[in-house]
């Protein structure tokens, strides 16, 4: 058996892959948080609950309406994104002019409402979502067995992250978004419908979280609390990376996933605290975050 630093190669690569998958989710979620933060200046505390809603939307579409995974991949983010649009339009907009801490508190309250409601409806145990037929099975790469669905998650997450980066940095709509991040009052003076842009941005960020949920449904069990613990880790990832740059959010997410995966190989007891430890080190050495500008 091949060994890597005293660990069987298969276990090493297996954990590396799992880490990469977690990293893909971290990247997707911190990307959504960064997009929302850029324009609204609030941290969306219901991001984890909206990720969970994405997974449940896919699950309900399949079990109630018989709509398959491929359609759910588009429908679930759309539905949850629309819910996000309503939340922004009727709740967040009312407090946009006051201290942004209140946005955090409001979305925290919403997260409690959403998670509590789903816990009452579906219990805490969680439901299974089948892997779509086309993505079942795996490939033997020689040094490890690669389940196709897991590879799919990483590929989709990377493609979506790249797409969002491209849209924000290279298109006209992205230009509006970046300009709005810098100075939304001036944008409004130039005739851009800023309130609409803000609403759509929030809906889009929420949609990204829901997409993460759909991708996660076949690998993790679909349960009401699947998002809350994940979100806190994503917060640590955001602190490590800083929310200054889109690329930074994506890279930090992937990197932290891999760090966590490797910790599972070498020192499993520390695997669920390692990202927080990295956060502490970053705060001591570079308080603004790896990609951040200023505090």
């Amino acid at each position: 058996m091949t060994m890597i630093f005293g660990v069987p190669a298969a276990a090493f690569y297996g954990q590396l892959l799992l880490g990469l998958i977690n990293g893909a989710f971290y990247a997707l979620l911190s990307l959504g948080l960064a997009v929302i933060f850029g324009l609204l200046k609030i941290i969306n505390f219901s991001h984890g609950a909206q990720y969970m809603l994405g997974a449940f939307a896919a699950y309900l579409l399949l079990s109630v309406l018989g709509i398959n995974y491929w359609a759910a991949l588009f429908l679930a983010p759309l539905i949850v994104g629309l819910l996000g649009v309503l939340i922004e339009r009727y709740l967040l907009r009312r407090i946009a002019h006051i201290d942004h801490i209140y946005g955090l508190l409001l979305t925290f309250g919403l997260a409690l409402v959403i998670q509590g409601t789903f816990t009452n409806w579906f219990g805490v145990s969680g439901s299974r979502y089948p892997v779509p037929e086309l993505l079942q099975g795996g490939i033997n790469l020689g040094f490890m067995f690669l389940p196709i669905y897991r590879a799919w998650i990483v590929v989709v997450a990377l493609v979506v992250c790249f797409g969002v980066w491209f849209m924000i940095e290279k298109t006209k709509l992205g230009g509006y978004l970046r300009a709005g991040t810098e100075n939304s009052a001036l944008m409004q003076a130039f005739g851009v419908n800023v309130p609409l842009l803000v609403t759509l941005t929030y809906g889009f960020g929420v949609g990204l979280a829901a997409l993460g949920g759909v991708l996660a449904a076949p690998v993790y069990s679909v349960s009401p609390d699947m998002g809350s613990n994940l979100l806190i880790v994503v917060f640590a990832v955001v602190v490590i990376g800083g929310m200054g740059s889109i690329v930074g959010a994506i890279l930090t997410g992937l990197l932290m996933g891999i760090v966590e995966g490797l910790t599972k190989v070498y020192y499993p007891e520390a695997s669920n605290v390692v990202i927080f430890l990295v956060m502490i080190i970053v705060l001591l050495v570079r308080p603004a975050g790896l990609f951040g500008k200023g505090a």
Binding site: G109, A111, V239, E269, V273, M279
Partner: protein
């Protein structure tokens, strides 16, 4: 000159009258607190007092320094676990256990504070939340915390080796004394020159810096005091319930103390006390009704409603009303 003198003395008179009114108010409250255990269930009253102290500690940070900590559960739990562990393992008196638990929280608070004040606003909230989650996982895995079961059957013991705390009435007066001590400490802190600087930092930190204040030191000291009192609340709570559990370390608890403070009135001395009483009574009533499974949802709705329409909280709204109609 003469007119200014009379103006000053008029202002002083008004201030004296206000102080007198406040003292009477506190005396009435004290009298109520002293007879309360003969009217209501003492254990529930003690729960309210412990959480009220916890919320007051949290409010010192949010209300007077403008720092939103989302990790205060870690201090409540650390105090609780340390006290619970010491009282169950060694034959020491409860006050020693509580003091040691409070010290443990103080140390943790210093560590949290040094790290989290390096960033501001929303980052501060995320860092405190992440640090508290790390502490949660450590307590989940550690041996001395009893994992998911927590520490059960912690003996209440004899206070100073004399007063038997297994008597609920004795226990109640001890908890009341601890609460008053913590409350007065916070009140002194807020009204001291130190507290005035904290408020200046809350309103405009760059200006406080330009006036020559080392704001990081002020924020750190406020954080440590807040963590210490939160730990004191947790330690006392463990002695009351003879239990230290993982639930105290969960992010849910950090959210609950924010809600208590928000409902009662952020930045008011007495608001968190009322808020704690309100939230705990509501939870207690709901858990016995047909809505028992919906407690979290209802707390979430109250959160949203408070943020949208009731940001000043109970005490804040009353103060606004009094100002509008009686001045």
């Amino acid at each position: 000159m003469a007119t200014t003198d009379t103006k000053i003395s008029a202002a002083q008179l008004a201030k004296q009258a206000e102080n007198r009114r406040r003292n009477i108010f506190y005396l009435v409250l004290l009298a109520l607190a002293l007879v309360a255990p003969f009217v209501a269930y003492p254990v529930f009253l003690m729960k309210i007092l412990c959480f009220a102290l916890f919320a007051c500690a949290f409010n010192l940070l949010l209300g007077y320094a403008g720092l939103l900590s989302f990790g205060h559960a870690a201090f409540l739990a650390t105090g609780g676990y340390m006290t619970g562990f010491l009282l169950s393992t060694y034959s020491i008196t409860p006050e020693i256990g509580i003091i040691t638990g409070t010290l443990a929280s103080t140390v943790l608070g210093t560590f949290f504070g040094i790290l989290s004040i390096r960033r501001q606003g929303i980052y501060f909230a995320m860092i405190t939340l992440a640090l508290a989650q790390m502490v949660f996982f450590m307590y989940l895995q550690a041996d001395f915390t009893g994992g998911e079961d927590g520490l059960q059957g912690v003996p209440r013991g004899n206070l100073f080796g004399i007063f038997d705390l297994s008597n609920n009435l004795t226990m109640y007066y001890f908890v009341l004394a601890v609460f008053i001590f913590g409350f007065l400490l916070i009140q002194r802190t807020v009204h001291s020159p130190f507290g005035q600087v904290l408020k200046a930092i809350r309103e405009n930190e760059p200006r406080a810096i330009s006036l020559g204040y080392n704001t990081d030191v002020y924020k750190l000291v406020a954080f440590v005091i807040s963590a210490a009192i939160a730990g004191l609340a947790g330690s006392t709570k463990t002695v009351v319930f003879q239990l230290a559990s993982l639930g105290d370390a969960h992010w849910h608890m950090s959210g609950e103390v924010i809600l208590m403070t928000l409902v009662g009135g952020v930045g008011t001395l007495f608001g968190p006390v009322l808020g704690a009483g309100f939230v705990l009574t509501l939870e207690h009533q709901l858990s016995q009704s047909f809505l028992g499974d919906w407690v979290d949802v209802i707390l979430g709705v109250i959160f949203v409603v408070c943020v949208l329409t009731f940001r000043a909280g109970i005490v804040g709204e009353v103060q606004k009303f009094m100002k509008k109609n009686f001045n």
